[in-house]
């Protein structure tokens, strides 16, 4: 699979219907500090697994705090 872009990551967040404007999210700030709680984050992870055909083990989740973290992680898995 070709490289996953930040726009594709933002799309998975948008599809979880959690924030009004995903483009307003700070890519370096933890999502949980930007109004995305633990349940919301489960939805984001599910969308990413589905969209990119990857499996995200529970053990990896603590390392996925920011959009930048997620982008690097997803590209290491696809």
């Amino acid at each position: 699979m070709s490289k996953v872009t930040v726009e594709q990551i933002l799309k998975t967040i948008e599809n979880a219907n959690l924030v009004k404007d995903v483009n307003a999210l700070d890519h370096a700030k933890p999502l949980r500090e930007q109004g995305i709680d633990s349940l919301d984050f489960s939805g984001v992870l599910f969308n990413m697994e589905e969209a990119f055909g990857i499996e995200i083990p529970d053990a990896d989740i603590d390392g996925l705090q920011t959009i930048n973290d997620i982008l690097i992680y997803v590209n290491s898995k696809v």
Binding site: S42, G43, L45
Partner: protein, 307 residues
């Protein structure tokens, strides 16, 4: 033709507030209300058993409709928290209600998918044996198995029971079709080993993945469009999961019933608990969709029509 004609329900009066646990679980009221969807939980008295809850639900049924108990052909209880391992809880209910010796009794061991499975099993059992009157109870008092310090489960479940009266050739809700499924390989994500354990993320992934597909498959099988369904009754796992299924299926939110704020997730009782309130409002020809999902991991969806 076997129809759902009346549903009795029971919720213990005692309530335990989740708002008193905000600090303990480092959460806030918005999360409790808008994501979990349970502000307070119904909790039975410590000595009350599943059969006691069933009997209370039956009292409520009798307050809605006269029923000659000598006419009951079968009595089925959906539970995974029976009074005892031996015998089946339906036998205890049978004895307490003084049902006739000719009445068949058995339990169904299923959790949140149990009501929809139960409707299919009891309807088919009645049709196969020429029965006219059946009782389908649901009662799973989870308060006995919840760890009060486990955030994943302590804020969700409430106690309650329902009884659905199924009758032959009477006006009521009639099944048009069902879809069933299981992912037994995932059973360890929701299991009772002394206390209930739930891997919330795994159960969420399971539900978000299979339930919309199950409903789509069923609608296709019945040649129905989503827009032809007047009301949806999804298992009240949490507000977040009901909202997620609604969004993923593209259902109109106003057609999806959600209401467990004041009593919690009552497992196999969650769907009939809501249906009980609405049953008299349906008019002939209206269609409703049901879907239960959870323990197993298992799911069952159905479409019913008012006839």
């Amino acid at each position: 033709m076997i129809a759902i004609t009346t549903i009795g329900k029971y919720l213990p009066e005692n309530r335990v507030s989740n708002l008193r646990l905000l600090e303990k679980f480092e959460t806030d009221e918005a999360f409790i209300r808008d994501k979990i969807g349970v502000v307070q939980r119904a909790q039975k008295a410590p000595g009350q058993k599943a059969s006691d809850l069933c009997l209370k639900a039956f009292e409520n049924l009798l307050s809605q409709k006269e029923l000659d108990t000598s006419s009951v052909d079968c009595c089925v209880v959906v539970t995974q928290n029976p009074d005892l391992n031996i015998p089946h809880t339906s036998a205890i209910v049978h004895g307490a209600l003084d049902l006739p010796e000719s009445c068949a009794c058995f339990d169904i061991s299923l959790g949140c998918s149990g009501y929809v499975y139960g409707l299919s099993v009891v309807t088919a059992f009645m049709q196969a044996n020429g029965f006219k009157t059946g009782l389908l109870f649901t009662a799973d008092p989870y308060s006995d198995i919840i760890d009060p310090d486990d955030k994943n489960t302590a804020l969700i479940f409430g106690d309650g029971a329902t009884v659905t009266l199924l009758e032959e050739n009477q006006p009521g809700l009639v099944a048009l079709g069902y879809d069933f499924g299981s992912k037994g390989a995932g059973y360890k994500n929701l299991v009772n080993e002394g206390k209930l354990y739930m891997n919330g993320r795994a159960v969420f992934n399971f539900t978000a993945g299979v339930v919309p597909k199950s409903i789509e498959k069923l609608l296709q099988k019945l040649n129905l469009e989503k827009s032809e369904i007047d009301q949806w009754y999804l298992h009240q796992g949490s507000k977040y999961i009901v909202d997620t299924i609604t969004m993923r299926l593209g259902l109109e939110p106003e057609k999806v019933v959600f209401n467990m704020y004041e009593y919690g997730n009552t497992v196999s009782s969650s769907i009939p608990m809501l249906l009980s309130d609405d049953l008299n409002k349906f008019i002939s020809g209206q269609k409703i969709g049901l879907s239960g999902f959870g323990v197993g991991l298992s799911w069952a969806s159905a479409i019913f029509e008012m006839k």
